[in-house]
Amino acid sequence: MAEIPEDNVLLKMTGITKIFPGVTALKNVDFEVKYGEVHALVGENGAGKSTLIKILGGLYRPDGGEMLFEGKKVFFSDTHQAQLYKIAVIYQEFNLIPDLSVAENIFVGREPKTPGRLFINWRKLNAEAKKILDMLDINLDPRKFVSDLSVAERQMVEIAKALSLDARLIIMDEPTATLTEKEVVKLFEIINELKKQQVSIIYISHRLEEAFKLSERITVLRDGEKIGTKNTSQANQDEIVSMMVGKVVKDYFAGEKISESKKEALLEVKNYTIADQVYDINFKLYRGEILGFAGVLGSGIHHMLRSIYGAAPRTKGEIFFNDKKVLIKNTNDAIKLGIGFVTEDRKGEGILYDMSVMQNLTIIVIKALTFLKGMFVKPANEKKVFAQASKDLDIKFADLNQRIIFLSGGNQQKVIIGRTLISNCKVLILLEPTRGIDVGAKAEIHRIMRELANKGISIILSSSELPELVNLTDRCLVLYKGKMVAEFNRQNMDEEALVAAQIGQKINQA
């Protein structure tokens, strides 16, 4: 390891500027990381965080400014060079090869060879991988295929890979976005372990609490500019949030709670079972209520809700809609009944990449916006529906023929919620509706949910963000390993109780 210089600075970026045609992504940004420091990088979507880390990772070349790494001036023209300097970036979309084993992924391109260098020395490969995993206290079989791993496990493999490259600086882009509470705890342990080994970490997250829990310093970016760097111990959340959004925001999360539900069951699910996922689930959804579902990975909630929507099979169980037994064989059946579904996987099964904002919004109802007996789309009708929905949901776009991929994550999410809403749904199933979107858009989606519930639409909300559940829902059901273990209502719901129930601890219910 290189000598640690006096100022203790591992990475120093000065005056970094990056210009894309038509937009300046980074303006004269200074940024530094010290040895063994966790430096949190926060900012709303589009603030320039991704651009900055892509420059560090060698994906982009800066248009101005310079970088000093371990005191030497460096310039990365590609990702390989960044690796040579021991910088590892763990992107939100992992760069692992699913059909290779954990060990192969960790040492990909650098596999230990048998004498003669012709074949891979499998025994050594697996042993070395095990050693690294052990060092991080990760309990994982190196021979397992990555395709069989959970998201959390894949992330740990990425970290192990970074460590095997003897990384001095690890950049983590939203590492906890898809993790459960328990896995987050594990990740934090690993981060602390890395810190002890004098590895520096740039930690990017939408979740401010995490930045506060982990980091030594926090740097805020907004619109491509650095707003400031604070010592975490001297900063508070409200201050950081107002730096991020550029105006003073107080308690961005809380809102008034919605009125009492009218105890009229709209949807009832009986004895719902999906083999290996959920067992014998019963619940009722009342009109105008927000019903929360909480559970850690393996709870089966997502599977169950998908299945209720007709997007996945079930083993047994009955669904009653308006007291009538219904059979939902596919998603179209559910839509016809008035059940809407917003996926947790916005990229994978939400947005239609090549289509415009308007076409994305109207895809479900397009058949109804026609003339000549459904033959042709009537543009006037489509525009009207779009105008109404974009106004209701406050979707921000440049023009309605703009491709959806150019909207921010929050606006994309609103389009997808809108897509479902205009299909005239009475039940709205939302899976992780605020995952990966910025603070402002999050608050708006919460507002939209409250408004919808007030209009009498029933909402099922599955979220891994417990404050969201506590603040928004009328009731909250907790599943653990496919079984319903607890039900909370307004009076007895709080974060601690939810956490306990999620991980299967017995709780005293009021």
């Binding site: 179209n332 839509i335 042709f376 909207l407 921010s408």
Partner: protein
Amino acid sequence: MVKFLKLYEKIGIFILIVFAGIFLAIASPNFLKVDTILNIITQGTYGVIVGFGMVLAITSGGFDLSVDAVVGLTSVFLSLLIPNIGIPSAIILSILISCFVGFLNGLIITKFGVNPLITTLSMATIIRGASLLIAKGRQIPISVEKFTVIGTGKLIGVPNPIWIMLVLFIMFFLLLNQTPYGRHICAIGSNESAARISGLNVTFVKIMVYVLVSFTASINGVIRTSQAMIGIPSMAPGFTLLVITITILGGTSLSGGKGNLIGAVFAGIFISMIYYGLNLIGVQYFYQLLSVGLVLLFALFVDGLRKRYLETAKIKGIKV
């Protein structure tokens, strides 16, 4: 670069045609005659008509490599059926048989989840084999003279194939851009999982796409057979690649979700102009093959560039 690609997307193919036109006008005194131009366009229609179908297939995220085989199949059935059941019925029946091939393609791709490339490639071989079997390996002459009108006749001075292309263009244009069905094709090509979650009938939409591709291939078969007045089981070898070239050069994105029918028309005419130019300098057929390959590579290159620059642009929300 983004600006250039945007411009290319809009008018690139026109510029290519203008350049080719200027070149040909200088090289040949015959080029600027109405007959020559109509002839070039007519030659272009063969690929363009099937290109319409291919645009749908590629837009839906699929592919169809069986079109040349379907041309041959149509030809064989026409030559066998025309003497027995008359021209109109023979045409309708041949087209229906071809559409059934497309239906099988679609069924295998959707119900068994087989890759469209492999499915249609296997189908192409099967169909070729079947065509040769049915024709007993021979070429079957057609003696009903009236049949030749379809491919060689003219209406108001314009050759029939051009009219057929125009009618099909209007049909497919409306279908892709103005109907819910067309919207569904784009949605499936954009993101099939999202289309499923949105309650679209993915299976139906896709099967219909392959039926329509085979439909266009079989129309092409009718025109060719009527010009040749002979049923040829191995008609149009290598034709599929030409159709794909026209589709991609016309601006249809290889990754699906975005189809360009107008572009296909002009791409077809452009390639026809290249052929004309090559004939002019009297080079062999081999050079024609070579040139189509080169044009396809060029089109793929631009498509790849577009995708890459789009991704960069996406990161900072540049409008494209």
